[in-house]
């Protein structure tokens, strides 16, 4: 079980920074995600789109990493949008009430346009 993390810029320099995650996010793999997001924020990337389309599983430690990132970018008037079309993952955001805190979109285009 592992997580692959990659970063790219959407629509050139003016667009948000997109973080692609592929795999499972749990207590073992979430530090890698946290490190990437922290580094981006340290580099003043405050508009983040985190693409969870290829994430098969996320637990509370993964949610904690996303919440931590959101808190940090908000300190700089930034925001985090999520791309999520997996019903099982979406259900976890619904149960925890995080749908009210994150912008969650079915596709990346909408997530990037709305940030």
């Amino acid at each position: 079980m592992d997580i692959k993390v990659s970063v790219r810029q959407s629509d050139g320099a003016s667009g948000p920074t997109v973080v692609d995650l592929n795999g499972e996010i749990d207590v073992y793999t979430s530090p890698k995600v946290k490190e990437t997001i922290s580094e981006l924020i340290d580099q003043q990337h405050y508009r983040l789109v985190i693409n969870l389309e290829n994430v098969r599983y996320i637990d509370s430690t993964g949610l904690g990493v996303l919440i931590g990132g959101l808190k940090r970018v908000r300190e700089h008037s930034g925001s985090v949008n999520l791309v999520c079309n997996n019903p099982q993952i979406r259900k976890i955001f619904d149960i925890t009430g995080l749908v009210k805190i994150f912008g969650i979109y079915d596709d990346e285009k909408a997530a990037c346009e709305s940030i």
Binding site: M1, D26, Y28, Y57, G97
Partner: protein, 146 residues
């Protein structure tokens, strides 16, 4: 009269107990997750039920690993009785008070406490038995097919 699930064509009930003992380290939580998924598939759980059980078991193991002190292993016992699956997760260390981790209703984004909240949301019954000497024992059960 309660109907018992049977192995395909065998006539044997699937009721029984299974145990898994994992090292108390983060890299082993996925094994507990895979184990409960396999068991849940074996008793014809739906995809949603499998995912609920995977997350609840993983959260319980994660709590043991993150909060308990002095434990080297996490013991996970699966009990199958008809359509009910009960999972007992024990840390065997100094334990942690799961009741103290239970979160208040969510409003502001918070990093901690989500694990216990998820367990309580996904399982039908959850009970913590906390003893500072023998550790924490979390018992949770779910009736399949509801």
């Amino acid at each position: 009269m309660r109907e018992h699930l049977t192995a395909e064509g065998s006539g044997h009930t699937l009721d029984g107990n299974l145990q898994l003992r994992i090292p108390s380290r983060a890299e082993w939580v996925s094994v507990a997750r895979l184990a409960v998924a396999g068991i849940a598939h074996r008793i014809d759980a739906t995809i949603d039920e499998v995912e609920d059980l995977k997350l609840a078991v993983a959260e319980a193991c994660t709590n043991c690993i993150q909060h308990a002190q002095g434990n080297e292993e996490v013991l996970v016992t699966f009990e199958i009785s008809g359509r009910r699956i009960t999972v007992v997760v024990e840390d065997g260390g100094k334990g942690f008070d799961g009741r103290a981790l239970a979160p208040e209703p969510l409003g502001e984004p918070k990093v901690g406490g989500l694990g216990v909240f998820l367990i309580r949301s996904l399982m039908d019954e959850v009970d913590y038995d906390f003893d500072p000497l023998t550790g924490t024992k979390l018992t949770m059960s779910k009736m399949l097919g509801l």
